[in-house]
């Protein structure tokens, strides 16, 4: 998927100083702070999403006319789901010393994705995303990795929900 798995890197993310900081910097900082508050410390999970990926997601939110106040919440939801998928990305081998953590982290982040999406009152998004999340797992189980990209699906779902609203 779109994030890089670096198990021991900190969640802190470089953003420009607040004066003159871009809108994206603020959305990203807010999203990561939200996630830092949500992730239980016992998990020791550190997220380190690529800046380019986050910018791409924020551009998609803008294209779909998402109100600025909602963007950091949606970005946090997106980071949780993409990170969960990333943790479980192949290869997964029994000899991998990180296998246990990767399985647990992926399961935990997916559960947190559900809980946090509900907490943000984004239940329609959770429901509309559910068939696609399932299809990603089916594609992976069938060895068709890379068949479904998350961001285009996420963007389409946001567009559909907006049209249906």
């Amino acid at each position: 998927m779109n994030t890089v798995y670096k198990p021991h890197t900190p969640i802190r993310y470089f953003v420009s100083p607040s004066r003159g900081a871009s809108m994206n910097d603020n959305f990203i900082r807010e999203a990561l702070e939200r996630l830092e508050a949500e992730i239980d410390p016992v998990t020791r999970i550190r997220l380190n999403p690529e800046r380019a990926v986050l910018d791409e997601a924020l551009s998609a939110f803008e294209r779909r006319g998402i109100e600025p106040l909602r963007r950091s919440r949606l970005l946090a939801v997106y980071i949780l789901l993409s990170s969960a998928l990333e943790r479980h990305a192949a290869p997964l081998a029994l000899e991998d010393a990180d296998l246990t953590r990767r399985i647990l982290d992926g399961d935990y982040l997916y559960s947190l994705y559900i809980q946090y999406t509900l907490k943000c009152k984004e239940e329609p998004l959770l429901k509309a995303m559910s068939p696609f999340v399932k299809k990603i797992q089916i594609a992976r189980a069938l060895g068709r990795t890379g068949e479904i990209r998350l961001l285009p699906v996420f963007e389409q779902v946001l567009a559909d929900l907006r049209e249906g609203a």
């Binding site: 016992v42 479980h88 246990t100 399985i103 399961d107 509900l118 068939p131 399932k134 089916i138």
Partner: protein, 326 residues
């Protein structure tokens, strides 16, 4: 008598529903390895406790006979089964109930995705249901298994940690085992339209029941045979799990020294005398008393719900959990 018969639950209906959830998914190619793996996992069976808890919970609401309840019962077992598939990988366990575990058959990555599919399919099913039929936000919360993961993290954190406190042990056990049982009862009650106070009481009942279940599991590591357990006796101790009998045994200085010597490289044959010493120490009796006390608390909640005919089912559950031999 078997529990499902005592409770008047047709488990075959639940198992048919589990298979139907797979077969009626047009996104799963027929006869694919994925479909075969899912059906094989379902057919491998299990105690099916969680579906029974969902159904018993539903009997406290006005819509207990709704067909939807059977689907939710099957969904609860999907969530549990998915967690077992991942647990086997985490424990690198080649066997499940004496048969090759799924990852042994299809490889670790595909096994992870089979488990993920089961969780994702449940979220999809709940998304298709309306609020009244179990599609409300509480249902999604019920299937989110962050607590289970926290229990696993806590277990990893405290492997071979002989300074573990009783509170840490109880927290880990609530996360890892009791929560899903409690939530299954609550989930069924909510879907059948039971009121909020009742749902909370059922959660509390399920939590005590679940804790007793975990302690019973802890005890079985010392008392059951390899054949009953599907793994050698003493596997928990050898794997660094500080269970309730071990916590009590650590209070004896002589035993504590021997227990503290158990580490990741200890061999099964090395702990046999220690297992016997723990069995003879009174630690098992104290853990048994704790287990009984939890069941007693569960029974008190069941009796407080005496106005509902289904409270008798809660008492049957408590009796079954108290007498479980493996």
């Amino acid at each position: 008598m078997e529990l499902h018969k005592t409770l008047g639950i047709d488990l075959r209906r639940v198992e048919r529903e589990m298979k139907r959830i797979v077969k009626y998914d047009n996104d799963v190619p027929p006869n694919s390895e994925l479909e075969r793996s899912l059906l094989q996992t379902i057919e491998a069976g299990g105690k099916r406790l969680r579906p029974m808890l969902v159904i018993v919970g539903s009997r406290f609401g006005p819509r207990a006979d709704d067909n939807r309840i059977v689907q939710l019962a099957a969904a609860a077992e999907f969530i549990h089964t998915a967690s077992l598939i991942h647990d086997d990988l985490i424990d690198r366990s080649p066997l499940r109930r004496g048969e090759p575990s799924l990852h042994t058959l299809i490889g670790p990555a595909k096994a992870v995705y089979v488990g993920n599919y089961m969780s994702a399919r449940v979220v999809e099913l709940l998304s298709q249901a309306d609020e009244q039929a179990g599609g409300g936000r509480e249902s999604f919360t019920a299937v989110a298994t962050a607590e289970l993961c926290l229990g696993e993290y806590e277990q990893l954190e405290h492997a071979y940690d002989y300074s573990l406190s009783l509170d840490d042990y109880l927290l880990k056990s609530k996360h890892k085992t009791a929560h899903l049982m409690a939530v299954s009862l609550e989930f069924g009650a909510r879907a059948a339209g039971a009121d909020e106070d009742l749902c909370r009481s059922l959660y509390a009942f399920g939590e005590h029941l679940g804790l007793s279940f975990q302690i019973r599991d802890d005890l079985l590591d010392f008392t059951a045979s390899e054949q009953q357990l599907g793994k050698p006796a003493g596997s928990d101790l050898l794997g660094g799990q500080v269970t309730l009998p071990v916590l009590y045994a650590l209070e004896d200085p002589a035993l504590a020294a021997e227990i503290r010597a158990v580490g990741p490289h200890t061999r099964p044959e090395d702990i046999r005398p220690l297992l016997d010493a723990i069995r003879a120490s009174g630690a098992l009796r104290r853990a048994e008393e704790f287990c009984r006390a939890e069941l007693e608390l569960a029974r008190r909640i069941a009796l407080s719900l005496g106005g509902h005919p289904a409270h008798a089912d809660l008492l049957s559950l408590a009796d079954y959990f108290g007498g479980r031999k493996y």
